[in-house]
């Protein structure tokens, strides 16, 4: 089981469309590598579109938190877009909703980076 990552540029914001499961092993490593590459390219406005992510385990959550911290330490911002109910519930129960800025509208999410 892996994760697909598609990258778009929307008004200076990099939108990563993720689909699949963010779990221990290769999927978490793939997300980490994608974020690392973006930071190496100097991208500091990153929006993770999780509309097609219906499952995240504790390792995937850790990867999201780690990514958030790494991007922030590079002077950037990492925000989340379009959470599925299961992922939303997971962020609520782990209180990570208080860490991430979460949006349900892409245009408004992109605008929030300006």
């Amino acid at each position: 089981m892996t994760i697909k990552v598609n990258q778009r540029d929307v008004a200076g914001v990099v939108v990563l469309d993720l689909s699949g499961r963010i779990t221990l092993g290769e999927p978490s490593a793939r997300l980490r590598e994608s974020l690392r590459q973006l930071l190496n390219q100097g991208q500091k406005k990153i929006l993770l579109n999780l509309a097609d992510v219906n499952y995240i385990d504790s390792s995937g959550l850790g990867e999201l938190v780690s990514g958030y911290t790494t991007v922030k330490n590079h002077g950037g911002q990492l925000k989340l877009l379009n959470l599925t109910k299961k992922v939303n519930d997971l962020l609520q129960v782990t209180k990570l909703y208080t860490v991430f800025e979460v949006h349900d509208n892409e245009a408004r999410a992109v605008q929030s980076f300006q």
Binding site: T23, L24, G62, E63, V65, Y68, V93, T94, V99
Partner: protein, 170 residues
């Protein structure tokens, strides 16, 4: 007197794909037990997190070690045991991932999720084996109230009695 539970016993290798396998098995057992879709998700996720814990922290990813995954289907509840060959841990010593200073930690949420998604959770460690026992009650009108919280290991009582009985027969 309760009827003897139906059992499913599996031994998994300490490999990352064992985690997906065990998770899928847990989902199917939860379907068979009669849990609804949301409860199936919680049970399979709790089992997944237990297997991650056994794989990473218990067996330290050593391929020569095994992970035990046992299910006991009772009329009113599902009991799951996940065992590894690690030195074990104490639930009360696991840091709270909801504490403000822990929110940005990259790890440490697995046990919290297990305890959030299951009705009971206990850890037993002895003789180089650590066993995590999880219990989920069926939400049906006939469901009796869960027992009062007992000492650590209490949810495992019936499973332990069964193992002892099995040992006597061997």
């Amino acid at each position: 007197m309760s009827s003897r539970p139906r059992r499913v016993e599996v031994t998994l290798e300490t490999r990352i794909d064992s985690i997906d396998l065990g998770e899928e098995l847990a989902r199917r057992v939860a379907v068979t037990a009669g849990f609804d879709e949301e409860e199936q998700h919680k049970i399979s996720m709790a089992v997944r997190e237990s297997l991650i814990n056994a794989y990473q922290h218990g067996n330290q990813q050593e391929v020569g070690k095994n992970i035990g995954l046992n299910f006991f289907l009772h009329p009113n509840r599902l009991v799951v045991e996940v065992s590894d060959q690690g030195k074990g841990f104490r639930l009360e010593e696991v840091p709270d991932p909801l504490a403000e200073e822990g929110l940005l930690r990259a790890s440490g949420r697995g046990l919290f999720l297990i305890r959030s998604f299951m009705d009971e959770c206990a850890v037993e460690s002895q003789n180089g084996c650590t066993r995590l026992t999880l219990v989920k009650y069926l939400r049906t009108p006939a469901r009796p109230a869960p027992p009062e919280a007992g000492p650590a290991g209490e949810p495992a009582r019936e499973a332990r009695e069964w193992r002892e009985e099995r040992g006597r027969k061997r």
